[in-house]
Amino acid sequence: MTSPQTDRPFDGVRLHVVTGKGGTGKTTVAAALALALASNGRRTLLCEVEGRQGLARLFDSPPLPYEETHLAVAPGGGDVYGLAVEPRAALMEYLEIFYTMGKRAGRILDRMGAVDFATTIAPGLRDVLLTGKVYEAVRRRERGRPVYDAVVLDAPPTGRITRFLNVNSEVSGLAKVGPIRKQADSIMSVLKSPATAVHIVTLLEEMPVQETVDGVAELRGAGMPVGAVIVNQARDDLLPSHALAAAGEGTLDGSDVREGLVAAGLVKSSQPGTRVIDGLLAEAAEHNERIALQRQERAELDTLGRPVFELPLLPSGIDLGALYALADLMCKQGLT
């Protein structure tokens, strides 16, 4: 396991963007991060933008509306709110606020298919609407202080993240002037500032690590602030390193293992227990291979020059309790 980080590199960050290859658990990590950031009396907003209602499933709540909804109480008091940002609703809201356009006019636009058109085809408009809503939540203030201490965005996967965040260049082919352009410019000023960190979730496997390395390069190229690399589902060594290596080479002493099993009452002293012993040794050899692969992939991540955090594979799977356990680990490792 990585030793706990002594400093807390993301103290001033208000917007945590969480991305990662599909299947790496980025929604789980984003949710645990929102819990961790809300602990001890703070308040966070957890946003999803892909219309999958992954947050509702994770928190065992009914589908989230386009409205900030209380999701969970954080350790030590503190609140996590959830919001499913939906481009059509965001567009309607945008038109209402900026054009004082009534709901009726919005409905007419919708009926004509203009809303569908704007949110599906106009290059970048959809992303401006989605990031714009998140930007608004980051900046919202009440009684002289921000409404949310931090906002966590469960963002699109690594392959699309730079394009998604780089709304400015995306709409440049489209809107050279006008309010959309101005909106994109203000969103960019926050996204490229030290108040934002883009974290990449990965597994210690070839494909996700490769995508992480590519993603970091792409984000850097676009001038976006790369935050932490968060390793998810890391497997514990469980065995002393010499024993692991011996298991890999097939030289782990079976008679020692047998003695242990007899001491534990799993093998009768009168029986050889060969099947159990061979089985356990075979499992250990596989485990050694996996741990070696992890080590190799972790070395690759270390070359990125970003803080690396590590969350364990939980044999019990992911439920609400597991989210709190992961949040606790994030606090201990200094991620929040």
Partner: protein, 391 residues
Amino acid sequence: MTAAALEPPLLDVDSLLDDMSTSIIVCCGSGGVGKTTTAAALALRAAERGRRVVVLTIDPARRLAQAMGLEALDNTPRPVEGIDESAGGSLDAMMLDMKRTFDEVVEAHASPDRAAQILANPFYQAVSTSFSGTSEYMAMEKLGQLRAQASVHGGSGEQPWDLIVVDTPPSRSALDFLDAPRRLSSFLDGRFIRLLMAPAKASGRAYMKVFTGAVGGVTSVMTRLLGAQVLQDVQTFVAAMDTMFGGFRERAEATYSMLADAGTSFLVVAAPDPDSLREASYFVERLSAEDMPLEGLVLNRVATTAVPTLSAERALAAAEDLEEDGAHEVTAGLLRLHGARMQRRAREQSVASRFFAAHPRVPVAQVPARPGDVHDLDGLRSVGEDLAARA
């Protein structure tokens, strides 16, 4: 044991691959479940069993791509070196270039001038690179093209292929692959686009005044939002694409009916976790609703054990006892390792058995989790053996 009641029928992979009437195998599933590896392993196994195979991959891991000779993303199937051709089979592989495929469709359907105009339009560029569903549509388009050249029913026989194996894009939902072509064509055929087109098409007619009045309202909002250039670009794009609408729709429909064909088999690929199996369920239900030929489920990365008789509880309790005594550190570690493995296995089985219970007639092939990545032909061969294993 009650669990035995939930044992699903076994997916007979080799019979599927050996059946000459199988001409297309589509591997579907949500992202990150190992679709690409499954498709490649099936293709290799089929080729080494004597089929003439072409495999269309979407986004293989770099080392696997290299092992298959897929260094360049050039949209052309190339022979894979190092396969055993003694049974008379062969294997070609290609990687999909989505943008290039779309450009080729445009070039095939429009005059050179018009094609150039479309390709340069910012709206076309957006649709061809980031419209959700474009990669699915292009995968289908490419599948249609491969079949047209293949030696199968409906193909020209220009290429020797008698089996096409298709990987699908890494989308969130497996359904995207089925829905994307229709979504794209219904979008291009949408009401708003028709409205935008109307003034250009039917100007001069009296009744159009009312119509353009309404459009004028919308377009003025759009202009205020996006700037004037945009609208012009949209209209140019729509006008240019209009010539191709028929072509797009027809192709989408033709591909769709090709998928419903008896020679096509769908395999749903999933990992034993709740999200991925939920997607698999949606897909299975959808295929059956559409009368599409579902062959079975490939359940990937399943936790296995060499000591099934030693439960997680007993192993972990024994490890704890040994640790308390401070002796037999290695044995305690082995027992913890086994305990965690058994817990994982139990959780996976409970998730999987929900799927089996809901879809008792869907045949299943379970592929054990491997400790390392697959990045060469030997790795693919061994995945192929696991796929075809008769448990």
